[in-house]
Amino acid sequence: MNRRRLLPFVPMATLVLMLGPVLAGLWGTILPAFGQLSAAGLHGPSLDPFRMVFATPGIWQSIRLSVTTGLLSALLSLGIVILIFAGWSGTRSFRLLERLLSPFLAVPHAAAAFGLAFLIAPSGWIARLLSPWATGWGRPPDWLIVQDPWGLCMVAGLTLKEMPFLLLMTLAAVGQTDAIRSMAVAQALGYGRVSGWIKTVLPRVYPQIRLPVYVVLAYAMSVVDVAIILGPSTPAPLSVLIVRWMGDPDLALRLRAAAGALVQFGLVVMALGLWRMGEAAVGYFGSMWLYHGKRGRYDLVGRSFGLVLGGISALAILGGLVVLAVWSFAGFWGFPDLLPAELTLTNWTRHSAGIAQALTETALIASAATIISLVLALGCLEAEYRHGLRIGSRGLWLLYLPLVIPQTAFLPGLQTLMLGFGVTSGQGAVILAHVVFVLPYVFLSLGDPFRAWDAKMGVIAAALGAGPDRVLWAVRLPMLLRPVLTAVAVGIAVSVGQYLPTLLIGGGRVATLTTEAVALASGGDRRAIAVYGLMQTGAALIPFALALLVPALVWRNRRGLRHG
């Protein structure tokens, strides 16, 4: 059989497809960063591009912003997740928070950022709720909240969005530790909930969520869309500058963009190193703290913090989505009116044609990228099962590589390379670029349930005369319907949210809901932003709903499979 001969090569092909564009893109960034852009008749090596980067007005502020916003939002989201788990795991409040927060994983960054901006701006919903009766404001105060020069608003937006991701990753990791019994022992010894969890469970959980935490850190340091919407502009964070330089007609700026991208890459590597040292320090002092055997006096404070911050985050995203919904139906809506003067369908009818087009494009790209990723992930896992081609912890690093290397570091290079080779950008190229980011998530989401499948089923099926292919198609995949659909939903959500790969690799010609929404954001038309933001959220959330619904319907008379 052909397939049997092909299968062992799937893992290699997957790695090439996933890492090839990343490495090629990095190469395409390194060359112009040192002055080599033969397409433009420029030949290096030269350090001028770096000199240009550091001659940019306010560049150090931009660099500092990248580092501080990244570290701060990673710390905050991790901290809140730890407090939620430590203080509340196993309780009803925990299940409520988990249920509230996990769907937000699918809310695209841009939509969440818009929602937050509408909520907390001086003329936003919270201010309107309190005005003028409580504040006396007839007009909004001149306060710098959104786009503050310290990037705090951007940190808030990133934290909101990264927390659900870390929450789900931690949830998966906790399942593999002996958390319940550890906690029982710790509590029997008189430890409080929070200190008990941090002392006994966290040390075993953290190594498993380390890579996701690194992803969050790297992402937050190099994010573009959230930075455009919530971040400062005098000056803007480094990632925004890089994308702006990329788009300048002056080719010298292309070199500056490449050099800036390498600086960004270096910053991320440094921040990761710093984080790693922080881990060691926390480990060292943590074990001293552990040996002290203090039972934890501030347990209640920690617990309350976790619940309050988690609750605020859930409310902020939810409130943001509600306010988006209101804006999408709003007639004129001045300050300090709590609600629009009239509700209208005009905003929706007016954008319906554009949305229909963008939605089709989004759906096409997302399904293609997800199907490719799913086939490759299943191929890898099946090869692992049949031929024992297991990826170790080093392989896991490779899987995370496209997520840890900042997008701004290799996508511009990839675009320049593609142009150099005369590859026309378009849908196909965008789909392949999306696979780079979709595949790791699909693989991570599918890997554990696939491996956890009871191999005895395979033995029984084989004993009944089924070949390995039939076992896969007739037994294993049907039993794994729910995790497979969940992986598909994750893949689609990731693809829907991609901004930079679509923009740069698509050459501006590929218009998805996300690129349209961010383009509209520059125009500041809240009604249009709301309509596109909601559609974007829907496109990412509906697959999740289906992933829950379909197995429930298909297995309505197979109780054992419903939770598989």
């Binding site: 397409a39 433009a40 008749g41 007005p57 306010g58 502020q61 701006a121 001086p122 003329s123 007839g138 007009r139 909004p140 001149d142 710098l144 786009q147 503050d148 020069p149 455009i228 400062p232 502009s233 005098t234 000056p235 788009g247 300048d248 007609p249 080719l251 292309r254 709003a330 007639g331 004129f332 809506w333 001045g334 300050f335 209208t344 005009t346 007016r350 954008h351 044609a353 554009g354 320049t416 142009l419 150099g420 005369g422 026309t424 050459g507 501006g508 010609r509 218009a511 349209e516 961010v518 383009a519 509209l520 954001a521 520059s522 125009g523 500041g524 038309d525 809240r526 009604r527 249009a528």
Partner: protein, 399 residues
């Protein structure tokens, strides 16, 4: 015989690749049918996007041309794209067929030989264009020479909310006085956004006793002296701006939201009809009106240009010609649609076409052509490049 066949075979692809001749309009129409035109135009304004979609429906119905609007956040992106394609040797079937362009972007594309043309003055509807009264043959002092076709006139106006600000202002100095007296009520889009740089130009033109010096390229000899009044002005204005100049709206339309939210009282616009259109779209309160400065304000034309490597030049010319048609121009001028000024001369139109313009109700917040007063010429682009750079150094990094 054999040689002839070879020659024919060699020539065949050449003739297929040859550019359409705008003078032979029938062949342009024939070639355009079935082509897809990718029009790269700024996509941040819903009204403009709707208008472009309408143009697409019309050219599809009338000429069989498919129009795809590529929504840009910055026109420079399109310029980069064509430039990169030229460097990569992609001299045919480029990604872009038409660009909404003017000013510095046009100057750099024309200079780099990235544009197809001349074609504009051979378009059939060029006969209606007002070449005397409107700046359609120079673009920011750069001669157009048929390398781009005009489709809308723009002039700087200021929008203000009469519910919060009683009287219009007559000069940039009056604006400064207002901002000093009531801090936080004015801002402008952050340069290098084009409306932001327009504000800087408008300020400079209004502050200089004699702005004619700006029509020549800036030189090291006169730049500092000429721009000194602008920097003195901005040094006083910036601390009194909305958010003390630590944050700026990203674009022009972002200012509309600020007025609607009551965050600022007035804002600059480059489209006399924008306020009326925004009121109709619920984006502005109906108390907003517009004014121009006593000495007049800057005006210029918006153009469309065709990249040299477009694969649909005939289709693009058909669209450019359609944009100049009286029907399209009247629709663009309708404040309920777009509110852009027309580039056509009323006395060159037929009576029914003229009637279509006359019957337009310009709307509550739009000034009549008389009220718009005299138009100030755009400075040479070299001024703007240097001023935008200096602005970034001085004010782009908030303390």
């Amino acid at each position: 015989m054999k040689r002839l066949a070879l020659l024919a075979a060699l020539l065949a692809p050449l003739s297929a690749l040859a550019d359409p001749k705008p003078a032979d309009w029938d062949s342009v129409l024939a070639e355009a049918r079935g082509q897809t035109v990718y029009w790269d135009a700024w996509g941040g304004s819903t009204t403009t996007n709707d208008f472009i979609a309408w143009v697409g429906e019309q050219v599809m119905a009338d000429y069989g041309v498919t129009l795809e609007h590529v929504k840009l956040t910055d026109t420079a992106d399109a310029v980069t794209r064509v430039l990169s394609e030229k460097q990569a040797g992609q001299n045919d079937k480029g990604a872009i067929d038409m660009i909404w362009i003017n000013g510095a972007n046009f100057a750099s594309m024309k200079e780099a030989g990235l544009l197809f043309g001349p074609f504009a003055e051979q378009l059939p509807n060029w006969a209606f264009v007002d070449t005397e009264g409107k700046t359609v043959q120079t673009d920011f002092t750069v001669p157009v020479e048929g390398y781009e076709s005009p489709w809308a006139m723009a002039q700087v106006v200021f929008m203000y909310d009469t519910a919060r600000l009683d009287t219009p202002l007559g000069s940039m100095t009056a604006l400064l006085d207002l901002s000093v007296a009531h801090p936080g009520r004015f801002t402008y889009p952050q340069p290098p956004d084009f409306l932001g740089t327009t504000f800087l130009k408008q300020a400079l033109v209004d502050l200089l006793p004699d702005p004619t010096v700006l029509s020549e390229p800036a030189s090291d000899a006169n730049y500092d002296a000429v721009t000194a009044p602008l920097w003195a002005y901005l040094d006083k204005l910036t601390p009194t701006l909305w958010r003390q100049g630590k944050a700026y709206p990203a674009t022009g339309p972002a200012q509309l939201q600020l007025i609607a939210d009551g965050e600022v009282d007035l804002a600059i616009s480059f489209s006399p009809g924008e306020a009326t259109a925004a009121i109709a779209n619920n984006q502005l309160p109906d108390t907003v009106r517009t004014f121009v400065l006593d000495k007049g304000t800057i005006g210029n034309a918006s153009f469309v240009a065709i990249p040299y490597n477009s694969g649909a030049k005939a289709g693009a010319m058909v669209v450019a010609n359609f944009l100049l048609s009286p029907a399209s121009q009247a629709r663009a001028q309708d404040p309920n649609i777009l509110g852009y000024g027309t580039v056509l001369a009323m006395d060159k139109l037929s009576a029914p076409d003229r009637a279509a313009f006359d019957s337009l109700d310009l709307g509550i917040a739009t000034l009549t052509p008389d009220q718009l007063g005299s138009v100030q010429a755009e400075p040479h682009p070299s001024w703007m490049t240097r001023i935008a750079e200096d602005w970034a150094k001085r004010y782009g990094v908030a303390q």
